[in-house]
Amino acid sequence: MGLSIEDITYVYDSDTAMAVNALNHITTTIPDDQFIGLIGHTGSGKSTFVQMLNGLLAPTTGRILYNGEDIHGDGYDRKQLHANVGLVFQYPEHQLFEQDVITDVMFGPKNLGKNEEEARQAAEEALSRVGLSSEYYKSSPFDLSGGQKRRAAIAGVLAMHPKILILDEPTAGLDPRGRDEILNLIRKMKEEMKMTIVLVSHSMDDVANYVERIMVMNSGQIALDGTPNEVFAHVEELESMGLAAPQITYIMRHLKDLGMDVDTTPLTIEEAAKEILSALKGH
């Protein structure tokens, strides 16, 4: 069933001169078991949007349904929603606080009423999924490297067994290797756990190779929504929003303009190489 978003708007500081329309009549659905990339320029409303999805912010108008129930309805268990729709914020520094990694990851499950033993089990499972081995359990979360901190933060949310996991810029500030590691990890999690993942990013190259659906946000609205190939067909529109298609798309388009008979849809370098080779052989 997943989440269905019905015509939501959100206005910051509505009663002052500084009122900002952060979200503007958004309607969409986020089904189970889908890998979604949410792309947008800084200030496009994507952070506000994801905070709506797990109930941290309430829409000014419109409603959000999770499995058919209004998440801001009377008596709705918001805490359970936070568990079902997990949200990992951009900076792991904002959530790590315990003395060691394992206790920190246990914080979420414990808040859901799990006992010590169950929480530890959930934490160990989550940590092994993000690739932090038992040698890190007892180290302070503040001594970890940037990439490891991010893994610990993801584990902290993963331990609550979310059905939908939203990651806000999980690769920001990481070097290319750390970035690829995190992204591969997320893909593996998606495949093994059959959950929906919403990957928030402002980089097309980050998400193009991984996701099955891309939502592009621009000034509080969903401007484009479709498979990566559908979205990247609108290069000019993307550029007018301050975004860009993946670099490989530009190369393929350029080759085509130069008269080479290639398809412009490849998203990875390997696919592109294959396409170019077959085009060359065709001649």
Partner: protein, 275 residues
């Protein structure tokens, strides 16, 4: 948390009061606060009220916005008013059960409420119309003479401006941390007091760590730009009085003299009535 108190915030707009030299506003605020304690009868409060009203009208800050700042002190005001109302001895006005409201109590409570309200509005007029940087510049200049007594005026004002600058940053950070922890099922709204205090740990630890990190970064950045204290340091925008500022000082002085006159005359009137 959506409706934060507006006390101490800056309201961005362009007005006569906003353009005024911050030193005038700083001294003006001191004078206004003192005047509230000089004045002790209702004629005086009417004068202060009119003065304040003119100020607000000229500042272009919406009145609604200013009043919202008062919310924070409603509780304090209620306590003061109730205490004064019931605990002042004098001529009884109404009395029920064991409580008596006296004429003097009512009089005193009213005055106290007006005084507190004007005090808060008056001082928030300064912060609403002056950026923190202007304010600390003004402080450095006004308290400058204290350097003779080896008071580290520059350092104090630098510390203040840094502290003020960090308030919005840390507020925003608190908000983010709070959200990150709520997303992990943290409960900040428990009715149980002990639970509520304990729930602050996941909020405070990341906040402190981030504050220390920021302080470190800032110190490094300042050092990298050869900051070495106030000695021989010049300003990019030195404060200069303009005609309007001089006029403001004159108005301020006139207001203060009027307050003193009203007090002297007022007590004489009271004296006459008493005799």
């Amino acid at each position: 948390m959506a409706q934060r108190s507006t006390i101490g915030q800056y309201y961005q707009t362009d007005s006569r009061i906003h353009r005024m030299d911050p030193r005038v506003k700083l001294i003006g605020t001191f004078v206004f606060i003192i005047s509230l304690f000089v004045v002790n009868n209702y004629i005086g409060y009417v004068l202060s009220g009119v003065f304040l009203a003119i100020l607000i009208a000229n500042s272009r800050v919406p009145f609604r916005y200013i009043v919202r700042g008062l919310k924070a002190i409603v509780f304090l005001m209620l306590i003061t008013v109730i205490c004064n109302l019931f605990l002042t001895k004098g001529t009884p006005l109404v009395s029920f059960w064991k409580l008596t409201i006296t004429y003097e109590g009512l009089d005193f409570a009213c005055k106290m409420a007006i005084r507190l309200m004007f005090l808060i509005i008056g001082s928030s007029m300064m912060t609403l119309t002056t950026t923190p940087n202007q304010l600390t510049d003004a402080m450095e200049s006004v308290f400058g003479p204290l350097k003779v007594f080896h008071v580290p005026v520059h350092e104090i004002s630098m510390m203040m401006s840094i502290a003020l600058r960090f308030i919005p940053i840390l507020t925003e950070e608190t908000d983010k941390i709070e959200k990150a922890q709520i997303a992990r099922g943290a409960d900040f709204e428990s009715r149980n007091l002990m639970k509520r205090i304990r729930s602050m740990v996941p909020l405070l630890v990341p906040l402190f760590i981030s504050a220390f990190r920021r302080a470190n970064d800032l110190a490094m950045a300042m050092e990298a730009r050869c900051y070495h204290g106030g000695e021989g340091r010049t300003k990019m925008k030195p404060l200069k009085y303009r005609k309007e500022d001089v006029a403001s000082y004159i108005i301020l002085a006139a207001y203060f003299v009027l307050c003193i006159l009203i007090r002297i005359l007022g007590s004489r009137v009271d004296l006459v009535r008493f005799l």
